[in-house]
Every structure is written in structure tokens, then in C-alpha cells.
């Protein structure tokens, strides 16, 4: 699972090369389809092609060091969806002139303005330092986008409600730490 030391070790041992890329591709593929189908009337095959092109384009930028994991200003997903949205809009313009292009303000989970960069750094630091099991629960929810029943199964919780309660207590704990630590700076 992401965030677990053993995964990194498995990666280094090359037991299954490119597993993380494949997982990343699959995780965002599903979300991209949900987004595209909600906002555009486009065939699945076109959405798939656009997603693939966007994914490859972004990976090529990283591979060619135009973007590096350390200098990424926003998440890979934000870049990916931004490229994907542009390609979807271009496709609409070229193939369905009368169709309305979704307003850019109707964003899915996206990054914020430059003014909020400082807060982002503070939050990132706390998230990266978060211990288990909260790290795993919140990673499954916010990154892997697993349902509560799937999280309960993965974490070995009794049922979905236990997973929900755990997720809530982890979030509240994390928010409390962030608020307490930085309230005096009036950032949040």
C-alpha cells in the first residue's frame, strides 16, 4: 500500500517493475472517466484515448526532467487533469461545436491560488509526518479513493461504520494539529 515502507523496498527489489505507475494510471483513469462523463458527452473510447495521451504527455515531461517530483508545484493529478481537460475541450470544439464547454470554475479536487501555497506546505508537512494507522486510512480514502467498506476490509475493521469513525477521528486529529500549530500565524 502507498506510504508503507515495505512497498518501497519491494520497488527497489524490482520484483514488480512499474507497479506504482500502473496503479497511478488505474487510480486516476477511473476518476478521469467519472469527471469526463459527468461534464462531457463523449464516447468512452475517446475519453480513454484522451486520458492515455494526457498521461503519456505528463510522464514524458517528468521523464525528460521538465518536471521533477521535487519541483512539482501541484499534484500529478492536478497536472494530469488539467492536460486532460484541455484535450477534452479541444475535442469538443473540433467535433461538437454547439456543445457547451464546462466552466473551468467547476473543478474537481484541485489546487488553490498562489496565496495559499504557504498553507499547502504546512499541511503537506503534517500529512507526510502522519503516523499509522491514520496515514493508511486517509491515504486509502483521499489518494486511492477507496470506499468505506473497502477500507474496512483492507484495514481489518469490523465494519464500514468503524472505518468511517476511524477516518473521522484521524481527520479531526490532523486538523487539530494543523490548526493548533499554525493558528497563531493566522494562516488558516
Amino acid at each position: 500500500m502507498f506510504g508503507h515502507k515495505n512497498i518501497f523496498a519491494a520497488f527497489l527489489s524490482k520484483k514488480r517493475p512499474n507497479k506504482e505507475i500502473e496503479e497511478l494510471y488505474n487510480t486516476y483513469r477511473e476518476l478521469f472517466f467519472v469527471f469526463a462523463k459527468k461534464h462531457y458527452s463523449i464516447d468512452d473510447s475517446v475519453i480513454k484515448d484522451i486520458y492515455q495521451e494526457s498521461f503519456i504527455a505528463l510522464c514524458e515531461n517528468i521523464r525528460n526532467k521538465l518536471l521533477t517530483p521535487d519541483n512539482l508545484k501541484v499534484s500529478f493529478k492536478t497536472y494530469l487533469f488539467s492536460i486532460g481537460k484541455n484535450k477534452l475541450n479541444n475535442y469538443i470544439r473540433d467535433n461538437h461545436p454547439p456543445m457547451e464547454i464546462p466552466n473551468e470554475s467547476n473543478q474537481i479536487y484541485d489546487e488553490q491560488s498562489i496565496d495559499e501555497k504557504e498553507i499547502q506546505e504546512i499541511v503537506r508537512k503534517e500529512v507526510f509526518n502522519l503516523g499509522e494507522p491514520c496515514n493508511r486510512v486517509l491515504m486509502l480514502f483521499y489518494f486511492k479513493r477507496k470506499s468505506m467498506s473497502e477500507i474496512a476490509l483492507t484495514m481489518g475493521y469490523k465494519n464500514e461504520q468503524v472505518a468511517k469513525n476511524k477516518r473521522l477521528s484521524c481527520m479531526e486529529q490532523l486538523k487539530k494539529i494543523i490548526n493548533k500549530k499554525y493558528k497563531k500565524e493566522d494562516l488558516i
Partner: protein
């Protein structure tokens, strides 16, 4: 905790763009009026983004080590193949499940539509030759009547002796040739003979005629007719 859970779910649904248009407008209205909620949504957004970046880190390292665009395409094609396999497995499982449910429903409907009583059960319940006395004999002692009553009794006994088909032929003949006062007795026993050979439709037709005549057998005929038609569940 339930209330807090629901609020957190609403915030996540809003940020994941999972709310309907009406829900989204209502939620944004709430945010406009509630600064704490606005801050909570913003902080959740930041946390969600931070988890994404954290989760992406290992994959980004792998991407840096990809040797060519072709290798990247191969990874994507492999992911797509797995996705298609998963989807076809899911579809196959779904089809199997649907077929199983449909088959179960059909079996249940089939069982439910079966008659509650078998022909033999009904015959056994209503066939009582030892108690038999044609209704027309009651108070009628003419020679012809006695002769026809005896013939009728003999034929009825043939049903029990394992010759129901012969009994049916005789009873149909009797119906044409017997005195009108015997006709209802003949019909009742003909209906029973039809049941004995499992000709339920014919038995029902005869019972229907008896019911129309509104004679001495009407109650038994109505009851038997109802039981012939009665299904197990429906």
C-alpha cells in the same frame, strides 16, 4: 459522531464533485454563510491534495526511470489489458448472477404455478362409491330408474377397478340415453372419472355444466372446481 461523520462526508463529496447540482448550490450557500465551514472545506481540500502528492511520490520516481516513451506505452497497454480483463470478468460474473437469479425466479414461478392438489388427491377426496346413491333415486322407485341406477353404480365401480377409460365411454353414453333425472349423477361421476385419468380440463368443463344447472351437486361441483384451479402459491 454521526453528525460529524455526515458533515465530513458532505465536504468530501463536494470536493470530489460528487454532489448533484442542487446539493452543490445548497452547500455553497451554507459555506457562504458559515466561515467555519468554509475553513473546514479549505483545510480538507489541502489535506486531500497533500495525500495525493504523498501517494504519487513513488510512482513519480518510477516514471523518472522509464527508458523510453515506448516503455511507458507498454506499461499503459498492460494496465489497459488488465482493466479490460477485470471488466470482462465483472461482466461475466454479473451475467452469471443475473442468470442464476432469473433461473431461481423461473423455478419458483413454475413451482408456484403448479396445482395445489393433484388429480389423484382430488379423486380420492371426492370418490365415495360406498356412500353412493344417485340423487334421482331418492323417492323414485320406478323399474327403469332402478335399472339405470344399478348400471350407473356398476360403471362407477369400474373407475376404482382400474378401468376409468371404459367408465368414461359408458358414462358419456349414459348421459345421452339416461332419464333427465339421472343426468346430473352421470355428469358428477364423469367429472370424477376424468380426474382419475388426469384430464383436469374435461373434468372442469363437466363441473361447470353442473354448476350452471344449479342442481343437487352444485356445492360439491363448485368446491371441486375451485380446488382443480387452485395453484400452489399464486
Amino acid at each position: 459522531m454521526d453528525k460529524r461523520n455526515k458533515l465530513q462526508e458532505k465536504i468530501d463529496d463536494y470536493l470530489f464533485d460528487l454532489l448533484s447540482e442542487e446539493e452543490r448550490i445548497a452547500f455553497e450557500q451554507m459555506m457562504a454563510e458559515d466561515e467555519n465551514l468554509r475553513n473546514d472545506v479549505e483545510l480538507t481540500r489541502q489535506i486531500g491534495n497533500a495525500f495525493q502528492i504523498k501517494g504519487e511520490k513513488e510512482a513519480l520516481k518510477e516514471i523518472q526511470h522509464i527508458s523510453s516513451k515506448e516503455e511507458l506505452k507498454e506499461i499503459i497497454e498492460a494496465a489497459e489489458r488488465k482493466h479490460n480483463e477485470k471488466r470482462s470478468t465483472t461482466t461475466r460474473k454479473l451475467l452469471i448472477s443475473i442468470s442464476a437469479v432469473a433461473a431461481t425466479i423461473l423455478i419458483l414461478v413454475y413451482i408456484g404455478l403448479q396445482s395445489q392438489y393433484s388429480s389423484q388427491q382430488l379423486f380420492d377426496e371426492y370418490y365415495h362409491p360406498e356412500e353412493y346413491m344417485p340423487t334421482s333415486m331418492r323417492g323414485n322407485n320406478s323399474e327403469l330408474s332402478q335399472e339405470q341406477a344399478q348400471k350407473l353404480y356398476d360403471v362407477i365401480c369400474m373407475i376404482e377397478k382400474g378401468q376409468p377409460e371404459t367408465a368414461i365411454d359408458s358414462l358419456r353414453h349414459f348421459y345421452m340415453s339416461f332419464e333427465p333425472t339421472f343426468k346430473e349423477d352421470v355428469q358428477w361421476n364423469l367429472a370424477l372419472a376424468y380426474l382419475k385419468v388426469n384430464q383436469r380440463d374435461n373434468a372442469e368443463k363437466i363441473l361447470h355444466e353442473i354448476i350452471k344447472k344449479n342442481g343437487d351437486y352444485i356445492q360439491d361441483a363448485q368446491e371441486l372446481s375451485k380446488k382443480i384451479k387452485q395453484k400452489r402459491w399464486f
